[in-house]
């Protein structure tokens, strides 16, 4: 799973999709995950990175992560959106 190449994400958490002209705001943890996705980290690597840094547990993060990926997918921000769905 990877973020589309043309998507711009600022450090402050502003995401811009030049194809559709849509803008999004993302919170710091969301921005971290987007950057990890851009680096083509696996789900497991992302999970380990977040759990090492933040005070949460695996089930909570897993649920929130899947929800977050679902919203990214819904907004066509992921490279392999169609493949993921299939």
């Amino acid at each position: 799973m990877k973020l589309k190449k043309n998507i711009a994400v600022s450090e402050a958490g502003l995401l811009f999709n030049p194809v559709t002209g849509e803008s999004f705001s993302v919170n710091p943890i969301g921005t971290e995950i987007l950057n990890l996705l851009r680096e083509e980290k696996t789900d497991e690597q992302i999970r380990s990175a977040i759990l090492a840094k933040y005070s949460t547990d695996n089930p909570t993060f897993e649920k929130d992560y899947q929800d977050f990926i679902g919203i990214l997918s819904h907004n066509n921000l992921l490279e392999n959106h169609e493949e993921t769905k299939a």
Partner: protein, 452 residues
């Protein structure tokens, strides 16, 4: 190194529509303490959900209301509306502040007596008063507000039977410019019913007509309506004096003052727009002072306001059970606070504040309660910071009606804690138990055994 506080990842599309110049800000502060006590500690000690009532706020509010009226009109008496919140500790605070008791049932009447309120300082309203209730009220010389002719005749009969002359008032309904007109209580002013009832009382010598009462509505946003009601009752009182040479001792304008809550469908928050005690006092006092009462014969003004005196003092603390998404992608948050204990969520968009630190990121969220019922919705849509499971929230302005209209439905009702003037907590109503509920039930012998 300690880990950072977790906040779930969130992405929100930025919409560019017409800005709302009245848009309410979402970056409010977390409510971590109530009257100096930590919300987290209160919930740890007394459970979740938990009602918390601030004695400081109650006293400050009633003292402000009294000041606003007494600086404008010389003779004012508040009577605490029991149905708004009849927890004994709460009633006692109002009685310590000098309020009489205003009750609307035999149960409430007995509650006031059991608290030690002088029967002469109990106002007995309501459409249903049994002969037993009325007999008690007559013996205690309470102020009985007559709702209909059947009641008038019953009181007359009881007065003769007990050789007493009860002190009564009639309840008057009227057009005050607010619609729909509340015409179910008492006798109508415009069509002559009120005058007819007055004639019946004055021509029979069994009852002493001491007052005129009205209850024009609830959550009234127009102080002018009270001004009109005060004028009409003043005119009626002056007509009684002219025709019967009989002085009406008091005018009782009932309750109904709006609190600072926000009614569903309102564009602006109630805390910014709803009238203050000053506004109501100005409208009512002006009407009475501008009427034709002589200075030395101004009637006592009685006010039975409940909601506006207690709503702000009440908080409901609860916890997040879960976050999920609806089929349409909307964020749903489930709290352990349901409509069974927050009845007023049917009327108001209650303000909800997280009880712990949060970032400025927020999401439009639907807040559900824990009940297995589709109607269990606390807020249909509210912009809230990102709440995690087990986070705590504070719901504001819940002091009125919730602790009387709450339902023992699906779950047991929680503890109610009062924070006193010295910032010490007291449980003033214990959490219900299964034993409490079962103690009121009886199972016939043939139903006591089963095999499943």
């Amino acid at each position: 190194m300690s880990k950072q506080r977790y906040e779930r990842p969130v992405i929100k599309k930025l919409e560019t529509g017409m800005p709302n110049k009245f848009g309410t800000r979402t970056e409010y502060q977390p409510m971590t303490h109530i009257d100096g006590l930590a919300v987290e500690k209160l919930m740890k000690d007394y459970g979740s959900p938990l009602f918390v009532i601030s004695e400081k706020t109650i006293r400050k509010t009633i003292q402000k209301a009294k000041k606003d009226f007494r600086t404008r009109y010389p003779r004012v008496q508040f009577a605490w509306s029991y149905k708004t919140n009849y927890l004994n500790a709460i009633c006692s605070i109002f009685h310590q502040e000098g309020s009489w008791a205003e009750v609307v049932s035999g149960f409430e009447y007995d509650k006031a007596i059991s608290l030690g309120v002088d029967g002469k300082k109990i106002i007995f309203n309501g459409p249903e008063k049994s002969e037993e209730d009325l007999t008690k009220a007559i013996r205690n010389d309470s102020l009985i507000h007559i709702d209909h002719l059947d009641e008038l005749y019953t009181i007359s009969e009881l007065a003769e039977k007990h050789k007493a002359r009860p002190r009564v008032a009639i309840r008057v309904n009227m057009d005050t410019g607010v619609y729909p007109i509340w015409d179910r209580f008492g006798f109508n002013y415009e069509n002559g019913q009120a005058w007819d009832a007055i004639n019946k009382i004055m021509h029979s010598d069994t009852l002493e007509l001491v007052g005129l009462h009205c209850h024009i509505g609830t959550f009234m946003l127009a102080p002018s309506a009270y001004g009109i009601a005060a004028s009409k009752l003043a005119e009626l009182a002056l007509s009684v004096e002219k025709k019967f040479k009989h002085e009406i001792k008091y005018i009782d304008l009932g309750g109904g003052f709006a609190s600072k809550n926000t009614l569903k469908g309102s564009y602006l928050p109630g805390s910014d727009t709803n009238p203050t005690f000053d506004d109501f006092a100005e409208a009512i006092s002006s009407s009475l002072l501008n009427s034709n009462f002589k200075q030395e014969k101004l009637p006592l003004l009685i006010l039975e306001t409940g909601r506006a005196l207690i709503d702000e003092a009440g908080y409901l603390l609860g916890s997040v059970i879960s976050n999920k998404r609806s089929s349409t992608g909307r964020r749903n948050t489930i709290l352990d606070i349901g409509v069974n204990i927050l009845f007023t969520s049917f009327w108001y968009d209650h303000k909800i504040t997280p009880a712990q630190a949060f970032t400025h990121y927020s999401e439009d969220t639907c807040i559900y309660g824990p009940l297995c019922m589709n109607i269990d919705v606390i807020r249909e849509s509210v912009s809230l910071p990102l709440l995690n499971k087990d986070d705590h929230v504070v719901i504001h302005h819940v002091g009125a009606y919730n602790m009387t209209q709450w339902m023992q439905f699906i779950a047991l009702r929680p503890n109610v804690v009062l924070i006193d003037m010295d910032e010490k907590p007291h449980v003033i109503r214990l959490r219900e138990t299964l034993d409490n509920m079962n103690s009121m039930e009886k199972v016939p012998a043939h139903l006591k055994k089963f095999n499943v």
